[in-house]
């Protein structure tokens, strides 16, 4: 399993890549995509929607279930990754390339882990 060093990770298995202090890309971790199984659909918010740290902002359907995706940050949706609407399998194939949303004007964030802490976290959880 792959968890790049330059990203931050949440306990609910999302990653955040900060582009500057108040802008970040958000996606599902390799661990999450593996646990969810083959992804077949994603519901994304709209540009301009507000997201809140710790609250659901999207949901994904896999062959196993429909599950919520939680935002690690509070801010405004600046962009959504429209490619995922046509090709949700990208979240399985390239979880760190397949960002879900870009959030700007970030005012708050959850307690996020670096990759080492994240691996410890989910290994202890299992």
């Amino acid at each position: 399993m792959n968890h790049p060093d330059e990203l931050l990770y949440s306990k609910s298995h999302e990653w955040a890549k900060f582009l500057d202090d108040t802008t970040a890309l958000i996606g599902l971790t390799d661990y999450a995509q593996d646990a969810l199984g083959d992804l077949v659909f994603v519901n994304l918010p709209e540009v301009g929607d507000e997201v809140t740290a710790g609250e659901a902002f999207a949901d994904v359907e896999s062959v196993k279930a429909v599950s919520d995706v939680f935002s690690p940050v509070t801010g405004t949706v600046a962009e959504i990754n429209e490619d995922l609407l046509d090709s949700p399998e990208m979240m399985n194939e390239d979880p760190y390339g397949a960002w879900l949303i870009k959030v700007e004007n970030i005012t708050d964030r959850e307690e996020l882990m670096d990759s080492g802490d994240y691996v410890n976290f989910y290994e202890n959880q299992e």
């Binding site: 077949v40 659909f41 359907e61 429909v66 599950s67």
Partner: protein
Amino acid sequence: MIERLSVYSTESQDPYRNLAIELGLTMAVEPGECILFLWQNRKTVVIGKNQNCWRECRVSELEAAGGHLARRLSGGGAVFHDLGNLNFTFCVREEDEDVPRQMEVILRAVRGLGIEAAMSGRNDLTAQGRKFSGNAFCRSGGRCCHHGTLLVDVDRREMERYLNVRAEKLRSNGVESVRSRTVNLKELCPGLTIPALKSALAEAFAQTYGLPAVELPDSRVDWSEVERWEAQFASWEWKYGRRIAFQNEIERRFPWGGISIGFNVEAGVIREARVYSDAMDESFPSELEKLLTGCRYDTGDIVSKLDGLSAEPGEIVRDIKEFILSAL
């Protein structure tokens, strides 16, 4: 760890009401508790959360026959319900979810009736290689809902009729259904009734967990929330208006000429219509395009719009109405 079992049953046969009750129970479930909900819908096609209803179901035919289209919160494919089908739902907190054990309840009940039942893949239960139960799951806010159908004595001709869509030219995102060979449990256990299966399930529930199953009091559910959800499940926006964009194209020949109509649909509304025809009246394709644009992708809405069409002779309008009703 499950320490308490509750059973809830409803007399309601309204699909929107029942989906709302199911959500009410999912919100009511406490840590350490597993709720088993048993329910039935009158004639309904239930589609998965992320499906295109027009690709999965003959919506207008179903509705003309007094049936309902419902969209559930869980994923997966389209299923047909009538009073020969019994639905079950397990509601638990996320930390208490144990899908194999929940499946074991159903298998135990069915095997107790003398039917050799098995799991097939993650979502189906089969007997003699044919499916009698489809299961789906959703997880939200730390709560899990696992539900499924049980075909006891379903009208399989109707099931075929409403789920068999001929829309070769419909292109859509969204989750596609997987066709399965089905079997009614009554064929394998003659004389089986819904009440008998319900008691078998309640008994198997208690046996599987080794705990008594107690009836859940109505007071545990927030009924004002249930009312609100029921209205949402029944709303046009939830059933048809979800953001699953698609295109469809239909064509037919008539004595007065041929016609082809292309639809570009977003959130259930026709954003663009392209009409081609070699009929005499040259103005009517563009007139029809204008009428269709902005109209809901709903045969009733479209047909009433067509009253504004001035094509001559009058049979053209009549033919197009019939064409829309039969082709969409």
